[in-house]
Symmetry: C2
Subunit: 340 residues, 2 copies
């Protein structure tokens, strides 16, 4: 049915090899025959079958993306960066959305076996040592974005610095009792976002000589509900915090929501700062630590391409910087403002 390279060769009066060389404009082919072939290709509306091509080249022209909860604002921004970079390079993006651990494991196990993609970008998920080894062994290049593994090229934001900046900015405004809502740590290695952000918080406290109050440190889900629950806990303390730093924007939104419920005005009675810099934070005028999400996606495919070209490259750790975006949910604490 479909027109093949043989049809083109026949009507152009050349061999299939010649047509192929015209298509991949490689080797030497006389200009007159090249024109002839191109003309026949146009006339017959021939397009090479990518499957057959993959069959022999071993390349699929696609890169796989394993990404949790496609609907998470953070994931989506990264995905966008990935999509842009991939399309610019003529690569296709096949996405593997993981909503449950079983799906994640399934993809981790199956993907290296089947050569459906030329490489893998894994977002916010940490493969264990065994899985990473199977990627390497099967020659499937992989890079991690927003996750870290010592065995794979990883692209992360400087989480400790970001958290440090967040808390420091609150301290500089005069806050002394600062709550910290951390996310649940997920990676199998000690290097994960939750842990790093905790370290940053401690550093800021230590530097300012503020005593560490374990009451003010809680852990919750990374989403809105987590922020709501955690902040309700924090704000019902005998001596509640005057500011809260949440490890994600969604958690921070949750804090804003309980503040509204409790009739606490933001930022007068409670300052709030988030982490991520998703579009929502702008709409809510939330002060936050911004990650270069799109750039992370773009760099993710750039690094992956390097690995695809040169499969012998070793793993690398790339750190990107965060940025403090001050908006309307942080200010000087009330008690200090009234003193002045």
């Amino acid at each position: 049915m479909a027109v093949t390279i043989y049809d083109v060769a026949r009507t152009a009066g050349v061999g299939v090899g010649t047509v192929s060389r015209v298509l991949n404009n490689s080797q030497s082919v006389k200009d007159s025959t090249r024109q002839k072939v191109l003309q026949v290709i146009a006339q017959l509306k021939y397009a090479p079958d990518p499957i057959a091509r993959s069959m022999i080249t071993g390349r699929t022209g696609a890169i796989g993306v394993i990404i949790p909860f496609v609907t998470r604002a953070f994931s989506v921004e990264v995905l966008r960066g990935l999509a842009n970079a991939a399309s610019k390079l003529g690569y296709e993006l096949v996405i593997y959305n993981v909503e449950e651990n079983s799906q994640r494991d399934h993809y981790f196990n199956q993907l290296p076996m089947r050569r459906r993609v030329d490489g893998l970008v894994i977002v916010s998920l940490t493969p264990d040592e065994e899985t990473a080894a199977s990627f390497l062994k099967n020659g499937l290049p992989a890079v991690l974005v927003d996750a870290y593994s010592p065995f794979l090229t990883s692209l992360v934001v400087n989480n400790v610095e970001g958290a440090y900046m967040a808390v420091k900015s609150l301290i500089e405004k005069g806050h002394q009792r600062i709550g910290f809502i951390n996310g649940i740590s997920e990676g199998t290695f000690k290097f994960n976002q939750a842990n790093d952000r905790l370290i940053g918080v401690h550093r800021a406290f230590g530097e300012a000589g503020i005593m560490y109050d374990p009451e003010l440190m809680v852990t919750a889900e990374w989403n809105r509900a987590g922020g709501q629950i955690a902040s309700r806990e924090l704000l019902s303390l005998n001596n509640p915090p005057t500011a809260i730093f949440a490890a994600s924007d969604l958690q921070a939104i949750g804090v804003l929501e309980t503040a509204r419920t409790l009739n606490l005005s933001v930022p007068e009675e409670i300052s709030v700062i988030g982490f991520d810099g998703v579009e929502l934070s702008e709409i809510m005028e939330l002060t936050t630590i911004q990650q270069p999400m799109q750039q992370m996606g773009e760099m993710g495919v750039a690094r992956l391409m390097e690995l695809v070209e040169d499969s012998k490259k070793g793993p690398e750790l790339i750190r990107l910087d965060t940025k403090l975006i001050e908006r309307r949910t942080t200010s000087v604490p009330k008690w200090l403002a009234s003193i002045k």
Copy 2:
């Protein structure tokens, strides 16, 4: 390097055909040999190459998704439904993000030629007649989600009914001057969201016997900025509306933002209602007309699968219902409340 079906056949002492039949558990194969083959497969960790398989079956096991602005909240929700349904069926999802018209045209032109995917789900984009014809001619099944074409199976929300409900709910609260911010219409056919929603608005007005004031109908981009600009225009009228219906949630958020800028309290001084029902609307406590976005995605792949099975099925138009979600941005107008 990789282990092929020949390796399995050899070590199991059978022919390749037999191994293949075990894999696709088709035909008759004696139970004892099946066990033997399965054991060798496990032992050798053999996994069939999907590319080679596609080569001969003509199926890729992937469905393509052409979708604009992956980052749009609406798109993302639909995408999630698509991903769920696809993964449940063992299909992969390859996404073609379009940020510009040139990209859209490129995908529309190239995809039918190359059999990279078994079918196409096109979200919020309307291929013209010629493009639709080329899908049909090349045997590439396609379904439209949130878009309509007479030549392709289309899955849309009942936009006129939704808009009608929105305006009717405002009228029932007592509003007489109601602004309507429509989105820019994009499809090449008369049936597009913007047009349908306008019809719904008119119907509600007509039914209530409210005079149609062209001043109150404006068109703007579908996003937040569009809502801001349009609402600024509407609210600076000599006789401004007491309620605004925006054709998208993001536009409605834009309205909320200008209201904040203008120090107008919502809903006391101005009621606002949106359209879509994205997560953001919940956070902002925006009254809205909700579309079953995830369901649209799921039904999209379900319908596509039907077409893949039975390529002779004709196009169909499926309408899904919207739902009015009343939250905190709509109420009785101030002048009416004070009279009571």
